[in-house]
Symmetry: D2
Subunit: 138 residues, 4 copies
């Protein structure tokens, strides 16, 4: 997928389908989250290590466009990239692909807060550096 | 909530919370759906009657902005209105409120398709009329 | 429902259905939880007040038997009663009913632990008393 | 895990946690289902092929015992075996393991029905044979 260098695989679970016979639209937000977690594991020591550092990343905005239905047992590739990381905010963009076809795309915006006070706190430099390095890679 | 004439109540379930101690962000899409279903029940004989008429409403786009966290057992008011209903497409707008404070807002876009062929099919006139009447009401 | 004096209502959400066209079997555990929460609100000041008291109730066992399928938009009555409350353990029994028909029944077992140490801690006397009083009522 | 010859891996998703900071107890039913689907893919051509054959497998009973909490990002091994397959009924048993420790165990019972009429229908011979062969393997 052009412009993306990271992806992870998910397989549509039966519990994620609905009575339309397709994956429920809210499932895509869960898969986006799975992709963020996998991205952070690859590039920045994992989401848990961020949480262990006393920082929580809240979701402040989500957007998804659905181009094709996904069905039970489909193998989906979820592409993810981190963009616009600055201060206490960052954004991810996603593309969900199945066999070369675009199933959905979207973005999520996040704010980092102190885990105790829930006050905005800057993205730690080590995390910002790790993400910047990841996105410069081809 | 200004501009809205319909709302429904939801209460944050424990299963809808996550390890951040707040409602998971994907839960809001489920609550939007609960509000759409309640809206259609009030104004158009119910979503099931639309499905019984051989029509399925697919979700083609969602957008949510999160302004405040929602916690376990919170009582939330989900305001919903149908906008831009034309041809085989319609859009809902939402505002989630708790004690006069805006918790989240967003929209969802939908396309009506034939339940067998999954081809786009116009929103039935009776449904369009019912929704138009609902939104003209004060 | 014979032997039960408390119930709460749930309505099957579209997100709770699966590609079999019926409510996913895991949804019943969520409805059982909704019933426990409502039960505690009615009889013991609410689950949140128990959590505020530094106690967490872990789920240690669940059992569900499914007698009939539940469908989208079904109105279900979830009957719940607390049984066998002793020491740091208690159990709930449930019956899910729709129009006089038994849809499912089951039980869940729980252990109360200190919220910080996660060590077993006795169910507080005030809670035990409240539950005992509730179950003696006709 | 003694007595099991098949397992699949799941990783606890953030969306599967709750405000107790651990995986919600209903998530285990979803993981059991993931294991059943993986089992059928390995041994019997996949659950979808069974559905394509006009058969639906309903869940008639579930039982889970929780021995340890599972946390976000935990890698869990879900062991599964098919037992008591006869007529239109079969049962699966499960053990969820993390680093050699038993996290949970349980079983699920199922009934095969005709996909159109929802009447009980015998488990097809080819499926029974495939499962029998799988469970005889060491």
């Amino acid at each position: 997928m052009e412009g993306f260098s990271f992806s992870t695989e998910v397989r549509v679970r039966f519990a994620e389908t609905d009575a339309q016979g397709i994956a429920h639209h809210a499932s895509f937000l869960v898969w986006f989250e799975v992709a963020r977690v996998a991205y952070l594991e690859r590039h920045a020591g994992g989401y848990q290590s961020i949480r262990d550092g006393g920082i929580e990343a809240l979701t402040t905005e989500v957007h998804v466009r659905y181009h094709r239905a996904a069905s039970f047992d489909d193998r989906l590739t979820v592409w993810a990239r981190c963009v616009d990381l600055r201060g206490a905010r960052f954004r991810y963009e996603y593309a969900v692909e199945r066999g070369g076809e675009l199933v959905a795309d979207g973005y999520t915006s996040h704010a980092t807060v102190d885990r105790e006070t829930y006050r905005p706190t800057r993205v730690p430099a080590w995390l910002a550096d790790a993400v910047a390095a990841a996105e410069i890679e081809p």
